[in-house]
Symmetry: C3
C-alpha cells in the first residue's frame, strides 16, 4: 500500500514486452496529496512540484481556497485522497475531526502528520497518535515537522536532517524516499510512540545552553556581590568615598574575566575527571555517572559562553581610556605632582613596564586563541577538519588557551599577593578566587600527561582492563575499534 507498491501495481501488470519498448520505463511523476491550504501546505506543495511530483490539494471548498502553487490541482478532500497514496496533513490538530468522518477514504493510505503544538503538554497524547486513533485503517507517519514554511519556500533544505516515526515500516520507507528526493536526510526514530518527542523538537529553547547559562549567571551574581562589598561598600564604609560609579565598568570588567576564566576551566575539568575515573576503575567499560555525562555534553556551550564573556572583557578594556573617571584621574595626578613639586615622581620603573606589558600580551594572545577555538566550533568550519585536526584544536589548543589565560590572571596579581592591603576585611580579591579552578585543572592535566600515567590511560582507552575476569574477555574488548 506504499507508494512503491502502487507504482508496481501500475507498471507491472503490463507485459514485460512494454519494458523492452522503452515506454513503461518512462517515469510518470507520482501524485501526492496535501490536506490544508495554509502557509505550510502551500509551501510544501510548491517544493514537491519543484522536486518533480504532481500535487493535489484536498480542500473543504475547492473553489475558494486562495492562491495555490502553479501546477497543483484542488479537489474535495475525498477525491484528493483517492487520487494519491501519500497524504500530508497540514491542518491544526483541533480540526482533525473531519478526518474521522472520511476514514473509509483513507484506508491503506500513508498519512504524514506535520503538525506542531504551540506549547508542550497541552494534549494527553501526541497529535500523530490522536490521528492514528481517528483513522485506524491508515498508516500514520509523524515527521518533517521541523521544517518551517519559510525554509520550504526559500529552498533551505539541502542536506537538512529530518526525523520520522511510525508503526509501518513500508509507510516510513515511502515517506523517506520522498524526503530524500527533496534533498533531506532522514533519520528513523522508531515507532509512533516517539511522536511526542518529535513534536517537542520545534519547541526546544536552548536546552543544551541552559546549564552553562545558569552556571554563568550564578557565578556572575556571586562575584558581582562579592566585589561590590569588597570594592565599593568597603570604600564607602572605611574611607567614606562614594565610588559607586565604578559598578558600571570597573566592577563589570572584573566580574566578566573572572567568570570567563572559570567557565573555560569548567570546559576542561570533566575531561580530566573522566581520565582519573578511568584510571581508578581500570576500565573504560563502566558508564560515567550521570552528572559527568551531562557536564561533558555541554562543554561546547560552556566554552562559547566563556568566549562571550571574554569578548565583553576585551571591549570593556578597550574603552577604558575614554572614560571620564580615567581621564580625570590622569589629569589630577599630573596636577597633584606639579603642585607638590615632587622631585622624582616620574622615574620610569622598568619592572613595572615589563610586568604590565606581559600582562597585556598574555591577555591578547589568550583572547586570540579563544576566538580561534570559537571559530572552529562553527559547524561549517568544524566540518572541514579531519578528526586529528579537530582534536588538536579542541584539546591541545584549548589547554594552551587555558594556560595562557590563567597566567594572565597570575601576572595581574604578581606583586599584590603579599601586600596586606590586598586583603580588605580579610577577604581575598576576586582574581585569586578565580585562579583556583583553572590551576587545579592545569595541575591535573599535567599529571595525566606524565608518561607513566599517559601510557596506562592509553591502554585503558584501547580496551585494556586492569581487573578483567579472564584473559580472553580483555582480548575481545581490545579487539574492537
Amino acid at each position: 500500500m506504499t507508494v512503491e507498491s502502487n507504482m508496481y501495481e501500475e507498471v507491472k501488470p503490463q507485459s514485460m514486452s512494454t519494458c523492452a519498448l522503452g515506454a513503461a520505463a518512462v517515469p510518470v511523476p507520482e501524485q501526492l496529496c496535501i490536506f490544508g491550504t495554509g502557509d505550510l501546505g502551500r509551501s510544501l506543495g510548491l517544493r514537491l512540484l519543484q522536486s518533480g511530483y504532481r500535487v493535489v490539494y484536498g480542500s473543504r471548498r475547492p473553489n475558494s481556497c486562495g492562491p495555490l502553487p502553479e501546477g497543483a490541482q484542488v479537489m474535495s478532500h475525498a477525491a484528493a485522497a483517492r487520487s494519491a497514496s501519500l497524504i500530508f496533513i497540514c491542518v491544526h490538530r483541533e480540526h482533525y475531526g473531519f478526518l474521522q468522518t472520511m476514514a473509509p477514504n483513507l484506508d491503506g493510505k500513508v498519512l504524514v502528520d506535520l503538525s506542531n503544538n504551540l506549547k508542550k503538554g497541552v494534549y494527553p497524547e501526541a497529535n500523530a497518535a490522536y490521528l492514528q486513533s481517528l483513522v485506524p485503517g491508515a498508516a500514520v507517519v509523524k515527521g518533517l515537522n521541523t521544517l518551517s514554511a519559510w525554509a520550504l519556500q526559500n529552498g533551505l533544505l539541502a542536506g537538512k536532517q529530518v526525523y520520522l516515526c511510525g508503526n509501518s515500516a513500508e509507510a516510513k520507507q515511502a515517506v523517506a524516499e520522498m524526503a530524500t528526493k527533496m534533498g533531506l536526510t532522514v533519520l528513523d526514530r522508531g515507532s509512533l510512540s516517539s511522536a511526542r518527542e518529535l513534536e517537542d523538537f520545534p519547541l526546544r529553547l536552548f536546552q543544551e545552553w541552559r546549564l552553562p547559562l545558569r552556571v554563568a549567571l550564578g557565578l556572575i551574581a556571586f562575584f558581582f556581590f562579592y566585589l561590590l562589598i569588597r570594592d565599593v561598600i568597603y570604600e564607602a564604609v572605611e574611607k567614606g568615598n562614594d565610588i559607586s560609579f565604578r559598578i558600571m565598568i570597573s566592577l563589570a570588567n572584573k566580574v566578566f574575566p573572572i567568570v570567563s576564566l572559570i567557565m573555560l576551566s569548567l570546559c576542561y575539568l570533566p575531561g580530566v575527571i573522566a581520565a582519573f575515573l578511568q584510571l581508578y576503575r581500570g576500565t573504560k567499560y563502566r558508564r560515567f555517572p550521570d552528572w559527568l555525562d551531562r557536564w561533558m555534553l555541554c562543554r561546547k556551550q560552556m566554552g562559547l559562553v566563556a568566549l562571550g564573556l571574554a569578548f565583553l572583557h576585551a571591549i570593556y578594556t578597550f574603552i577604558i581610556p575614554i572614560r571620564y573617571a580615567v581621564r580625570h584621574k590622569l589629569i589630577s595626578r599630573v596636577v597633584d605632582e606639579m603642585k607638590n613639586n615632587k622631585t622624582t615622581p616620574f622615574d620610569f620603573d622598568n619592572t613595572e613596564a615589563w610586568g604590565t606589558d606581559s600582562f597585556l600580551v598574555l591577555g591578547i594572545l589568550g583572547f586570540f586563541l579563544y576566538v580561534l577555538l570559537g571559530l572552529t566550533s562553527l559547524p561549517s568550519v568544524g566540518g572541514t577538519l579531519s578528526w586529528r585536526e579537530f582534536s588538536f584544536i579542541q584539546s591541545k589548543l584549548g589547554h594552551l588557551t587555558l594556560f595562557i589565560c590563567t597566567s594572565h590572571g597570575y601576572i595581574y596579581g604578581w606583586n599584590k599577593f603579599l601586600r596586606p592591603s590586598t586583603y580588605k576585611w580579610y577577604t581575598p580579591p576576586g582574581y585569586m578566587l578565580c585562579l583556583i579552578v583553572p590551576s587545579v585543572v592545569l595541575v591535573l592535566k599535567f599529571l595525566v600527561l606524565l608518561p607513566c600515567v599517559d601510557r596506562t590511560l592509553t591502554r585503558i582507552r584501547q580496551g585494556w582492563e586492569r581487573n578483567q575476569p579472564g584473559e580472553e574477555m580483555a582480548m575481545t574488548k581490545a579487539t574492537n575499534l
Copy 2:
C-alpha cells in the same frame, strides 16, 4: 529515451533467468558523454568518474586535446554521442553550430546545457533554447550551470542545490538521478522557458543587497553633509576655526552609528507595519503591498549592513585615545589649568561619571547583542537552531538590541537636549534625528505587545477573519497550518 530506458533495453531482452543467476544485476557503470575538453569539461568528467560513472569525451581532434582525467575515453563527437544517452555540452554558445550538423546522431539523446553567458541580454533567446532549436530531435535540459569548474575539482558539491529545467520529464529525471548521485540536491524549475532565468543565476551580483546598500549610502551621504555643515563649516564661519581634520574620524564616528541605528530600526519597522496592516484589514489572507514585501525580504541584509557600520563605530571609538588631536587636547587642557592656576578645576563629578559610564556600557552591550544577531544569521549557525530558538533570537533579542542601542543614543544627549548651544543655526544635532525612527518602532512594537492587541493579532495569524463572508469560510481557513 532516457538513461533509464536505455538500461532497460540492454538488460531486459535477456531472459529472466539471467537475473536469477545474479549476473545481469551486476551494476555496469553507466557511460556518460561530455562534449568539450575545457576546464569545465575536464572537472565534470573527473567528478563523474569519482561518482562511479564511465566517461567518454567527444572532441574534434580526439588525439590532441590535452590532458584528460585518468580513466576517461576520447572519441570523435559522433562516436562519443552514439556511445551514451546523456551528453553534457561544455562548449561556448558561439560554437553550437557543429551540433546542428551532427543532429542525426543526437536524436533521442538527453543534452545537458551547462553554458553561461558573460553578460545578461547578449542573445535574444536562452542558450538552451537555441540548442533545442538546433537539435530538435534531442531532449535539452538546462542545468548544473551554477557549478564552477573550481567547485567540481575540489569536491565542494555535497548538499549543494542545483536547478534543472527542460521540456521532457524523463530527460530531467535522468539528469536529476545523475546529479543526486554526485551529492547534489536538485530543484526542478519547470519547462525550458525558465532556461534564461537559470542562465542569469551565476551573473547575479548581490541582488538582495542592493536596496540595503543604497539606503545605507543615501543615509550616510545625507548625514555626512548635514554634520559637515553643522560641525565643521559652522565652526569655520562663526568662529573662524579650521577643524577640517575632524572629518576623517570625529565626523565619520558620528555618521556610522547614526546610520547603523536607523538601519537596525528599518529592519524591525516592516514587521510592525505588517502587524498594523493585518489588524486594520482584520485578515492575514490579503497580500501585503509590493513595497512592503520587498522591504521584508531584505531585512537580513539591512541588519548585516547595520552590523558592519556598528563594527566600524566600535573600532573608531577604540582608537580615539591614540589620536594626535585627542592627546593634544588632553595635554593642553592640563597646561591651561596649571597656568591659570584655577583652584577647583578637577572636582570629580559623580553624575558625569555615572552618565558617561552608562553611555559606554549600553554601547558595549548593544554591540555584543548586535554581534550575536549577526552570528545567528550565518547559514550554518542558523541551520542548527530550532524554529522557536530562531524566532526568539531574531525577534526578542533583536528588539532588545534596538532598545539598548536607542537608549545608548538617548543617554548621549541626556544633558544636551535643553542647551541652546546644541541647536547651531537652529538645526537639531544628528543624534536627535537618528532617534526618531527607532523610537517610533519601539513605541509601535510596545503597542502590538499590549495584551488586547496581541490577542487579536494572534487570532488573525491563526486564520481568523473579522469580516468573513460566511462562518464556514473562516472555519476552513482557521483549519490549515
Copy 3:
C-alpha cells in the same frame, strides 16, 4: 554477490505474479552485519538502525559484549556473517587474524574496512590490502573511515563527503547505496590501491596550512630580530638606554602588521605571476610550474593567516593607551613642558592631525575589508554566493584591501622617508621593507588591468593561442567552456 544481487536473488525467483499482488514489493529492511562491538561498532549500528536497516553484530562472546543499540541482534562471528551480505569490520588491524580462520564464511561477501591507524607508515601495506590478502574470496571495500564514532552518534552526517575504494565495482556500489541512505555523499577513489591514501586522511594535520604558517613564522622571526637590532639594541649601544620592555608590545605591534601585509600581498602575487606567464607563453594550455601551483592552492590559508595577524595588530593597537609606558610618557611630557616653561609647546599642527587621522582611518577601513574577506571564506557563507559574487569579493575587494593596507603603510612613513635619523646604522626601517612586495603586486596588477593587456589576457583565457600550430587547433580549444 553484492547486496543488490542478493536482493534480486530473493525476489526474482518467485514468479512475476507476486509483484502484481503488491506483496513482494514491500521493502523488507535489509540486514547488515558489524564485526566488533567497540565505540565505532556501536555508533555505526545505532545509525544504521536509524536509517532503517536491521543490524546483527558478530562477537566472539555474544553473551557478554556490553550494551548494544536497541533492536540489534548479536551472534557468533560465523552466524552473523552468514546472515548478511555486507559486513563492517570495526576491529583493530592487529586482530584481523581471526578473519582468516573464518574465511570460508566470508566468501562472496562485501567487507567494509573502516579501520584507521594511529600513525602513518607503521605497516608495510594498507589495512584494507592486508584484509583482502587474508580473505581473498571476499570483496574488500575501504571507506567511511573518516567518520568518527562521535559524529555517528550525534547525527552530524548530513551531506558529509566520504570516500570509497575497492576492486569490485558491485561491492562499491552496494556500500555507496548504503552510505547515501545514511545521508552521506560518496566519492569513488578507484581501486584498493588507494586504500593507503584513504587511511591517511584522518591523520592529516593542517597540510594545506603548513606552507603559509612556515612563511609567516619565517617572516616573523626575520622581522623580529631585524627590529630588535634596529630599535632596542641600537638604543642600548648608541644611547645607553634600556628599552627592552618594548619587545613585548611595541616591537610585536610592528612585526605583526608588517608580516600581515606581506602575507596579504603574497596571496595576490601568484595570480599576477600566472597572468604574466600566460601572456608570455601566449596560451593557457601549458601547465604552471609546480611551485606556482602549490602557491596558488594555499592562497586562502595565506589570507587567513594574514587576517589573524591583522587581528592581533588591531588589538595591540587598541590597548596602547592603557600601557604603563605610554601613560608615563604622556605625564612626563606634560611635566617637562611645564617645568621648562616653553612658550609655544602646544601649537596644534593641522597637517599632523590630518596625517595621523588618515593613517588611522586607512587602517580601520583595511581591517574592516580584511574581516569581510575572511567572513566570505567561511564555507557556509562562500557557498551561498554566486560565482560572480565570489570572484567580485575575492578579486576586486581583495585588491582594494591590499591597496588600502599598503596606503596605510605609506602614510605611516610619509614624513620619515627623507629624515636621516630614520636610517639607523644605515638600515631602512621595517615598514619600508614590508612595502616592497605589496607595491610590486599592485603595480603588476595595474599593468594587467590596462585595456590592451587585459584584452589579450581575456582572449588567452577563452582559449585563444598566439603560436598555434594551425588555425583549426585554436578553434577547437576556443570552443570549450
